[in-house]
Symmetry: C3
Subunit: 676 residues, 3 copies
């Protein structure tokens, strides 16, 4: 059995976020001992505590932090220390109001929440150097501290003058000359030719939609600004902390402002904050997608904030009983090496009073405490069983920030929404019980049997060749509409569409139709078992060298090709000419998967199955019931041992509402498995 993700599972560690500065000092010891009793081994602190660490410019007070570290270490917990830069203190803002970001509508933000900074401000850098170096110097070789978290949830665009100047510099590096920039952006359109670098403005206040090249480069610049600010902090930490891990807590797939592939490159651990209540929708595969995107960054994954109860600032979203444990197990199933619940105790004040921890604001145990207790007990043995296991992913979905940025700038049709599109295709694959990696288009693809690119809007010749090689070497590639429409400067290549991929696919897009949200064009398989429809956007193809596997049966292009397939070398490429609704995409990908002979599963609608291979090479499955009713799952190829300690009926498994089970095959490998 092959698969891309070769990282072996570690025994999952549990932890929690704790803010000593928010509670009386005499409470810390009690909290620490309770955490230890609960089986937690990691505690995160320090993020947001700048004004406690440096109450006045250059005057540090770290004695309280020393004490906290000592108390928790003594109780047996390792400390993750946050740099506090996500919340510059009031005195710094008073000294340097230019640190405050300028919004798209020209307002200078004020102190009073958090993330009130422009990442490019010199004054911020200077103050950051002082506080981060001080912390790194004090704790950089402290064995009680195992990891640094840089800042907190980077994000936010700024449109200030400093950013404008920095953007100009960024453009100089990218393009070398104004002539090259003018050419790439196509500034001959609407008299936008620049004769001086200083003429280039940020794209926030153009009368209407700005030049798409400018808009895309600005999005990249914002992303790079945070990558740069993180790199700056890492260099400060590394001077004093040669061996501790460094991470940042990202925001999963739901957040699309920063290219996390770039951000993760500089990190030892790809940490993220997992609040299923905030994901795209309530589908379990949405949470799974978030986790898979993070795993696809190519670093060990930690969940730095795992939802522990109701969440929300102004309004509240609540989980059901059982979901907090279920969701934490989902994180583990998707490879998290550590899961830290957010947070230990609900804040009594501040913006996050409704963001619930394991303890209530008054210190009593919250309704989900027992779920974590149960989970911690379970993991004593289960953790050992999971150690050394590997994910099985024969399928990859391509995720590309350039395409995401460009589509947000020009959505073209509401159905082409980037998040939805990736979600629909990922969800279709995951319903079949297949392991799915979500990776960058430029990543190595040779370990995958199937690669799905639901919205590869931006292309270049190199990438096209990379994809063609993958197919030629035996891979199966599925492309969806609006593939390969833009070059890296957000212009349309002077090429038949899909640009650089017309040869590979054997089709040309010669026309398209843009529908309103409720309209569809029906399609029907000619050489594929699909009866479905495209919703919102569908294209007319000129088929030059491909098989038509489905045709339109309604709409403007009735009778012509809706899905094509083409053999190329040892592989095959499919082109979907329209935005399939979930049911249609389900049928198409099921058909592709069956034809490929990938081992899919028929699962009840709300049941998630994550396929692993145990360290001894035996099939293993984490099975999660995301519904509020009991479910029965068919288990082929038994006997299976239930690692949660329960006995399973032969051939099937009973799942409680929101239940989790972990099954290990005790059979010899099936022939088709052994053969891989």
């Amino acid at each position: 059995m092959t698969g891309h993700t070769t990282t072996r599972f570690k025994k999952p560690r549990l932890g929690v976020a704790y803010y000593p500065e928010q509670w009386p000092r005499d409470r810390w010891r009690l909290d620490a001992s309770r955490m230890a009793e609960l089986g937690l081994t990691l505690v995160r602190m320090g993020e947001f505590a700048w004004s406690q660490m440096e109450p006045h410019p250059g005057q540090f007070d770290l004695e309280w932090l020393d004490e906290a570290v000592e108390i928790f270490a003594t109780a047996g917990l390792k400390v993750i220390l946050g740099t506090p830069t996500a919340a510059p203190p009031a005195w710094l803002i008073a000294q340097h109001p230019e640190i405050l970001p300028l919004t798209e509508d020209g307002r200078r933000l004020r102190f009073g929440n958090r993330r009130h900074y422009c990442p490019n401000q010199p004054a911020l850098r200077e103050a950051t150097a002082r506080i981060v170096s001080t912390l790194a110097n004090r704790y950089g070789r402290d064995t009680r501290v195992v990891c640094w978290q840089v800042d907190n949830e980077f994000g936010g665009r700024c449109y200030c003058e400093t950013c404008r100047v920095a953007f100009t510099g960024w453009l100089r590096s990218r393009y070398g000359s104004l002539a090259a920039l003018n050419e790439a952006w196509g500034t001959s359109f609407w008299s936008q030719t620049y004769s001086e670098w200083d003429q280039i403005q940020l794209p926030d206040r153009a009368p209407y939609a700005p030049n798409p090249g400018l808009a895309l480069d600005y999005r990249r610049f914002v992303s790079d600004s945070y990558v740069g600010f993180q790199a700056y902090q890492i260099s400060l930490i590394r001077q004093h902390a040669p061996t501790q891990s460094i991470t940042h807590n990202m925001m999963g797939f739901r957040f699309g402002e920063i290219d996390y592939f770039s951000l993760a490159k500089d990190l030892d651990i790809a940490a993220w904050d997992n609040y299923p209540s905030l994901h795209l929708d309530s589908r379990w595969s949405s949470s799974g997608l978030e986790a898979s995107v993070m795993r696809g960054l190519g670093r060990p994954v930690w969940v730095m904030e795992q939802q522990a109860g109701p969440v929300g600032w102004e309004t509240v979203r609540t989980p059901e009983s059982g979901q907090i444990r279920l969701w934490a197990y989902q994180s583990i199933a998707h490879g998290a090496e550590a899961v830290l619940f957010f947070r230990w105790r609900t804040a009594r004040f501040g913006t996050e009073q409704h963001w619930h921890g394991l303890l209530n604001g008054d210190g009593s145990l919250g309704p989900w405490y027992a779920e974590v207790e149960q989970m911690s007990r379970e993991l004593v043995q289960l953790g050992e069983d999971l150690e050394g296991a590997r994910a099985v992913s024969e399928v990859a979905v391509l995720h590309d920030y350039d395409s995401r940025f460009a589509l947000e700038i020009q959505p073209t049709n509401q159905s082409l929404d980037y998040r939805n599109s990736i979600q629909t295709h990922f969800g279709a694959l995951r319903k079949l019980g297949l392991g799915v990696d979500v990776i960058a288009p430029s990543a190595a693809l040779d370990n995958y049997r199937l690669v799905v690119a639901p919205n590869l809007y931006v292309i270049d010749r190199q990438l096209a060749e990379h994809l063609a090689r993958y197919v030629a070497d035996g891979g199966v590639l599925v492309l969806a509409p609006r593939s390969a429409i833009k070059d890296r400067s957000n212009a349309i290549p002077e090429r038949p569409l899909p640009a650089y991929l017309d040869g590979l696919t054997g089709v040309r897009v010669v026309n398209y139709h843009s529908l309103h949200a409720h309209e569809t064009a029906a399609i029907e398989g000619t050489d594929m078992p699909v009866v479905g429809g495209f919703l919102g956007w569908y294209e007319q193809l000129k088929v030059r060298d491909a098989d038509v596997v489905a045709r339109y049966v309604s709409g403007s292009f009735a009778g012509s090709a809706a899905i094509t397939a083409r053999q190329h070398g040892s592989g095959r490429v499919l082109y979907l000419a329209g935005t399939g609704d979930q049911e249609t995409v389900d049928q198409v990908l099921r058909s592709v998967v069956h034809e490929l002979g990938l081992r899919s599963r028929e699962l009840p609608p709300d049941v998630e199955l994550v396929p692993l291979v145990s360290r001894s090479g035996a099939p293993m499955s984490l099975i999660l019931n995301h519904s509020d009713v009991a479910q029965e799952v068919h288990l082929p190829g038994g006997p299976w041992r239930n690692l949660m300690g329960k006995v399973s009926r032969v051939g099937s498994l009973d799942l409680a509402p929101y239940g989790v089970e972990v099954m290990l095959s005790e059979s010899v490998l099936l022939p088709e498995e052994a053969s891989r």
Copy 2:
């Protein structure tokens, strides 16, 4: 028969708003004589006439006003004189543009509408002193003038630098020290600790939701700014006007920016502007709630602006034929001592051309003129009959601006909307024909048999003790979900919830569920005749010492307590664990009312009954048909005399569409009434 509202009714006076400056001088006399013919005795003028009174800085022209006062006085009308500060003239704004308010999004407003001032600006105060003193000096002892109206409909937040400085001063007074403020707001959260007062910013431009303590204090500060500006004007008037009444025209319950309890404290009369077309919805109880909130301010109530026809600035809302009279009677039924229609004649120009008066713009009689004529005739005798009557209110609903402000800052769930919540409970009680007072939580409660607190979100120990005493002494208290969640600084008390009330209620809130707008959790009475549902928000209770009177039959907490009741001393406290829809709240409160033996009525859906006691102690009822069809109302305990002059059938009353009748019992008191 007991009841809180001991103020005796006065013979209602009718009046109208008139703007002499908007009409040719030779028209005034005609208008005055028509008003007199119509039976009006009050005329309001002067508000908004600053630029006519003081055409240039310090140059006054009041001769026209003298003439107007004289003309209307001669015709037999008493004058209410407005201070014109709601509309500072163009020359003042040109001299002092800093008077213009700064909006939440950082725009400096401009001259061109009204209310274009920051109430804290020194230049405004100075100009105010000049014009108000001049007016007070001239008319302060003028017997033709009976009342002063300060400004017009205070409201509007400002975020200017002057406000920031004033807010800092306000905070100094409230907290004494920065340490106390840091503690109260919980600034240890997100590094928000202030080391200098000047670091505190207004909450308008934080990147996201600001610190809830800051947000709540700013809302109080805005409210206090208007209270202060009003007090300033009152002190200026009082220097010259020792005996005339002083009032301000408030905006009822629909407006929630100013704590009207505070504002009314400094006034002789609580005036308000009553536009039923603008109320929460078209329910008659919504208008009744507005009126009751005003009556609950503890001052004699005048309706300074009573809707006289279609209203609206940019779009128009129109009443039905009959409603103008009906609504005016509703004002009287709820205790208004004077009702001034707005306005005499529709403006031909300016923003309010669509805000209709009794006369059309061309001076002809408008379609509702005859209704006022009829009413005026009726009141000749009816007014005498009403004089000395008293409202009967054995029930109170608690209305609290701190809770309102805090819930607007963090709505938690759409179902917890403050206005809706109060409306739902008030409406349920009024449908039963009960007199209902709407009062501050801190008010004396001992005269009420039942107190309903639909959304007492903010609590402190003193208030909790006040409520407990009320119950111990025999009162019945009904609490709804999200009671007692916040302290006065908008932080969560370090207490089991409902904070400080867990002992009294005998329950603890241990979990909750936040639903979308269309979802419900069904409930069913175990010891109460209720079959209904909670919509949006519902809580899980740990019942420690209370009776479960209703249980959940669906949702996350199915089977557990949905409504509890607990005997405490001589009284009883009920806790509703979720946001009941109107039907559910109707059932619950009907049951409570029946059990208490309050004399409720079964009324047709759109019929309002206001219970009074005549000056001789006999039961009296104002009955208003808010529907467009004739209705029949059952009248128990007759014989009744119809004070509108019509004969009533024994035991029942026929109401015309939009009809009004006033019934006086001629029977001896019923035993159960006499016993109270």
Copy 3:
């Protein structure tokens, strides 16, 4: 057969927009020869090319333009040259940032799109003088250039200080004295009296709706600012170009910010940009209305931009196959003398990458190219046949920018939407196959048998007299609700409503009712075959001297007059007291038309018929099938010859989906036609 539009058709010319600066120079010749092959004879260039024409301040590079003009002229095309002022170059903005407009919410726009200028800025005027004079000097007598297009799609409000000062000057001219302005605006309302001109502010930041007089004058001022900027450019061009035509490409009826009657007065040709995908809705009569509004400007009409494929900046709207040809024919049917497709080739970069031309971005032929090819072939003969023909318009709809501006300022009720209202009435008439002119209320009316004024909100005595004379002389006038409510300063006249028209109509509006979007008041004809309803707004009439032809059968005024008619002199005036839905207006106008004996047609729902008279005086019809199915049209009074070359069955015509046919009557004139 009479009719207003006496302009005779010319043989339609076809053309295209081309941007040489966006393509390699070695491509131009190929494009030119292809255009010539396609039968195009006009090419537009130069607009938006400022930075290519004047790369640095005062340094001109027009050699490329010379070459382009030469290449296209050699290929046989005539050039339309645009002044490039719609896109001031980056260097100009860098030098004079004050050119950038200030938005309503106080943001200074930035460079990066187009139309980033305030039309009143001196620096813009100065730079405009330089570039326009240079162009005019070079090409003003060049016979290869036949026409100048000034700027591109004027529009956009500015609120800068320069505009404020200019507005003050504009007001001085209009009112002469502050006293007159104070009187006209009614500044006695809310103390808005101005004592200095400088106190007058633009209406962008009043706390709420500003003074309606101020708001309306500002709208006029914005319109006049563009009229002025255009006049400035025209004067610059005329100094060097004594004979070439001058035009501007307007935006049809959908754009309501500029009084196109004023703008067109200074032009030789009324050009406009016709994108049916962007019109009010997909009704064919919506496109027809746009075209008719343009024809009503009283100048020869050119379509400077005719939709050539999918359009949109951020999202895309697509036509169906056949519609590009159909829509171009619709332009011709409504009198366009030239139709230039926009654009030749889809831009590969810039904001309009999704705005498709006849060629794809890669230079290949787009899906609609063949339709233009077909049309060009057809026009060889058909153009000759059309030459000298005349439109037949016995009906006029009145279109008035004052009313449009004033209703946008105070919409009163959603049903009174100006565009919808005109569309509904125009559509009802066009469905009957009648020729309809859309003209200014002040235009000569004597050639029309019927004049419909769906929303003549603003009135003055002169206009009322003009309308009365029309009726007295035998015309039929149809007025709809909210007619004659405002004077020219947006105040309500001191007159019974409809002001100045109460005598003519014989009715007075004494009350009205404003409904929500889904509510209706049913009406029924008493002397007219109508059973329908008013939606949103309906009025109560006092009928003084008129016949009631329809009554309300529900709603607040049930039983009273809903539609009245009055004989006046030789004519008749109808008053509709409410906003009819489409079906009701259809019935009413059908009845009026039948009674008048106008020759209407029964047409299938999606078939448009444009009635013409050939140059020899024979009836001629352009018939367009706007549906995607074949249709059969009954043709009375044959025999007819099909000028598209097909043979027609006697008495009926088969239309293909999206088909177009042109029919010429070969019968002698019908008696009733000959008699006119």
